[in-house]
């Protein structure tokens, strides 16, 4: 039986178990539902859970271990001269056997391999049959056990709700474990990288040129992994972005929350937030095709030498992208300043601008700072715009008119195209990723801490 058919069968069995459990509960209740501990449907779910979950577990475990066990059996049944080969040879052989078994090989087939392939198919078939029988048996036994447990006093509802809780816990931990898994994989790959390139060279080296020489006589491939130019480039672009986003975002938030009429606000705020919904790749080609040439031409007109992939262009566009983050968070925090503080200032005869500058902004400042830090971490991690607009040259410069590159851009270029997973060039991407992750994590933690502290003050 196919696994999907088996799965379908198990679902059917569970549905049947639900009805059996429900009927049984009504039976033991003698027609008066009130004498039961739980509602009849809970007894139904109880039976269905007992029927489905153990059988699904069997199915899951069997599927997980089936392949390796079958392969082991096939390998051990191979003729002596084949099974004594080194492990990597055996790996290739197993691949051959599988291909033959699935009929994907044309032409000459070694008789030993063909025999092994047949053996493999037979084992698979047996295993499938065994699984079907076992899973069905477990399902029926489970349902029978549950049916037998049902009595007036039996607390079916508590059992069902307990299993729902467990299910919810599993769902929530899944996301957490995925994150931990990603972090660990980045961490271990980075450690491998740091075995080949010293961590001090990576963090403090001033030269970034990750192309490795494959042949002795290759030129221009020094394989230098000093990441400082990347950090500087990232910071430069983020700085330009923040110089654009913070004043515009903050001032528009002040206007929207303090001066604008409610009708204007109701229209303008969603429009501003649309900026946050534009895909970053759209910003990217906007930066590369519109802003960068514009900046270059403008520079040429006033006699400045501007690179066509300048940090300025990428930073400007990134700043525009971040405006809604800054303005929307600042707006929330300005609105969270209690009306009583505004009243207090107005009652002293303060004008609106005095109230805003001297009372409201200082009161909202911790929240605004938190919002800005969140925006910075967003800017540092932003990839698409800088890949398209910032260039690939690892210049160590603070000149916004020159081409620079960023951490994210380099990760993309290191992992695009053909690559070997044991070369420092590829592993460097993981090290860069780790640095990026730690930086944004630290910024987020600090920002959230500030924001939370501020919230406690007024609620």
């Amino acid at each position: 039986m196919q696994k999907s058919t088996l799965l379908f069968l198990l679902v059917l069995l569970s549905a049947a178990a639900y009805h059996i459990g429900r009927r049984r509960s009504l039976q033991v209740a003698g027609g008066t539902v009130r004498s039961l501990h739980s509602l009849p449907s809970y007894y139904g779910y109880y039976a269905a859970l007992w029927c489905g979950i153990p059988a699904l577990l069997v199915l899951f475990l069997w599927t997980a271990f089936e392949n390796s066990i079958v392969i082991q059996l096939v390998v051990s049944a191979l003729p002596e001269e084949l099974s004594s080969a080194p492990p990597d040879r055996i790996g290739l052989l197993v691949n051959d056997i599988r291909n033959v078994a699935s009929g994907a090989v044309a032409g000459e087939i070694e008789p030993a391999v063909e025999a092994a392939a047949n053996h493999y198919l037979r084992l698979k078939d047996t295993s499938n049959r065994l699984l079907s029988v076992l899973a069905t048996f477990v399902a029926i036994t489970g349902a029978a056990y549950a049916r037998q447990r049902i009595s007036k006093e039996h607390r079916a509802r508590n059992h069902v709700e307990k299993s729902i809780t467990v299910f919810l816990i599993v769902c929530s931990t899944l996301a957490v474990f995925t994150t931990i898994g990603i972090v660990l994989s980045v961490l271990f790959e980075s450690i491998r990288f740091f075995k080949e390139v010293p961590i001090t060279e990576f963090l403090f080296g001033l030269d970034w040129s990750p192309q490795m020489a494959i042949r002795e006589d290759q030129v221009g491939s020094s394989g230098a992994f000093g990441a400082v130019p990347l950090f500087v480039g990232t910071l430069l672009i983020s700085l330009i972005a923040m110089l654009v986003a913070v004043p515009i975002g903050l001032l528009s938030a002040i206007y929207l929350s303090e001066y604008a009429s409610s009708r204007f606000r109701a229209t303008a705020k969603p429009l501003l937030e649309i900026l946050a919904g534009i895909p970053t790749v759209v910003y990217g080609f906007f930066a590369a095709l519109v802003v960068a040439p514009f900046v270059r031409d403008l520079g040429a007109r006033i006699g400045l030498d501007v690179s066509s992939e300048s940090a300025l262009a990428a930073g400007l566009v990134m700043g525009i992208m971040i405006i809604p983050f800054v303005s929307s968070l600042s707006d929330d925090f300005i609105n969270a300043v209690p009306q009583s503080l505004r009243d207090g200032a107005y009652a002293l005869g303060a004008t609106q601008s005095e109230t805003i500058r001297q009372v409201i902004i200082p009161a909202a400042l911790p929240g605004i700072v938190g919002g800005v830090l969140l925006a910075v971490s967003r800017a540092i991690g932003e990839t698409m715009i800088v890949v398209m607009a910032a260039g690939l040259t690892a210049n160590l410069t603070a000149n916004p008119l020159a081409a620079v590159t960023t951490v994210t851009t380099q990760i993309v270029t290191l992992l695009v195209g053909d690559q070997e997973f044991d070369s420092p060039k590829t592993l460097a991407a993981f090290a860069l990723g780790l640095v990026l992750f730690l930086a944004t994590l630290a910024l987020n933690i600090i920002a959230l801490h500030i924001v939370r502290k501020y919230r406690e003050q007024y609620e």
Binding site: S262, P338, S340, L341, R342, D343, G344, A345, Y346, A347, L348, G349, A350, T351, E354, Q358, V359, P362, A363, Q457
Partner: protein, 277 residues
């Protein structure tokens, strides 16, 4: 004998037939006539006429939603900050109609200070809280003068001895009663002529309340004070005149002793004897 007044629906410019008692004060400083306040469609205050005298504490009492807070917020035009609020009628302070189009609200609010229900110190130091008003109005020319104003204001508010060593702590670090006295100090630092208090003790415990009440009594010698309160004992303790509001109308006004011992209007009597409210 009680006078049972019929609440008339007639409008403007007539005798205040729904108000019992003497609305004028021997030494009037604020004169209100035909004051109506609308919040959008809602007619929150109807045809109120009332005088507030020099060196007098007037208590405004009445059940919740009767318009007493709205009324005192008219006196320094704080209602301007509420969208959809409209005020008609005349409110004259020292001969100047404060709702006149040519009047600037900034000096008006410096002249008529206000203390709110909940203490609302700014998120600044104690010193800066008090110094804020004098600074924005340019009342002082030197640092020494500013320090003097801060000290005098804090002394008058009865807070100086408690905070003189902590002037640079944040104002929000004080207790509720201290914060409220800080707000009073902040209000008197701009040297106003009138102080409006909107339930200044409702968030305070009895000891802090007693301190504030004592303070109000002392401040009377310098200022004209209007206080909104839900506590009838408080009204009886601190005020010379009392005005009773009901559903947006001024029902009765008179000497505090008379209002509390011998109210002339049935609604006033019902309220102060605790039959409702």
């Amino acid at each position: 004998m009680k006078v049972r007044e019929r609440i008339s629906e007639a409008s403007f410019n007539r005798e205040y037939s729904h108000t019992v008692g003497e609305i004028t004060s021997p030494n009037s400083r604020i004169v209100c006539r035909n004051v109506n306040v609308y919040y959008g469609e809602k007619h929150a205050i109807q045809d109120v006429g009332l005088d507030i005298g020099r060196n007098e504490v007037i208590a405004l009492i009445g059940p919740s939603g009767c318009g007493k807070s709205t009324f005192i917020r008219c006196l320094n035009r704080m209602n301007d900050t509420i969208p959809g609020c409209r005020v008609t009628g005349q409110i004259v302070l020292d001969g100047q109609d404060i709702y006149d189009g040519s009047l600037d609200v900034v000096p008006l609010r410096a002249q008529v200070g206000m203390v709110f229900q909940k203490p609302n110190p700014f998120p600044k130091s104690i010193f800066e809280n008090v110094a804020y008003g004098p600074r924005i109005h340019g009342l002082v020319s030197s640092k020494a003068e500013l320090e003097e104003v801060v000290e005098t204001s804090l002394r008058r508010a009865g807070l100086w001895d408690e905070v003189k060593d902590y002037l640079h702590q944040p104002g929000t670090s004080l207790s509720g009663g201290q914060q409220q006295r800080l707000c009073i100090a902040r209000a008197i630092a701009v040297n106003p002529e009138v102080i409006l208090m909107d339930e200044p003790c409702s968030a305070l415990d009895p000891i802090a309340t007693a301190k504030i009440e004592q303070l109000i009594d002392e401040l009377r010698s310098h200022y004209t004070i209007a206080i909104v309160t839900h506590s009838m004992q408080q009204a009886a303790r601190v005020s010379q005149r009392t005005a009773y509001f009901h559903l947006g109308r001024l029902i009765e006004v008179g000497e505090t002793a008379q209002i509390f011992t011998n109210p002339r209007h049935q609604l006033t009597e019902d309220y102060i004897t605790g039959r409702f409210g």
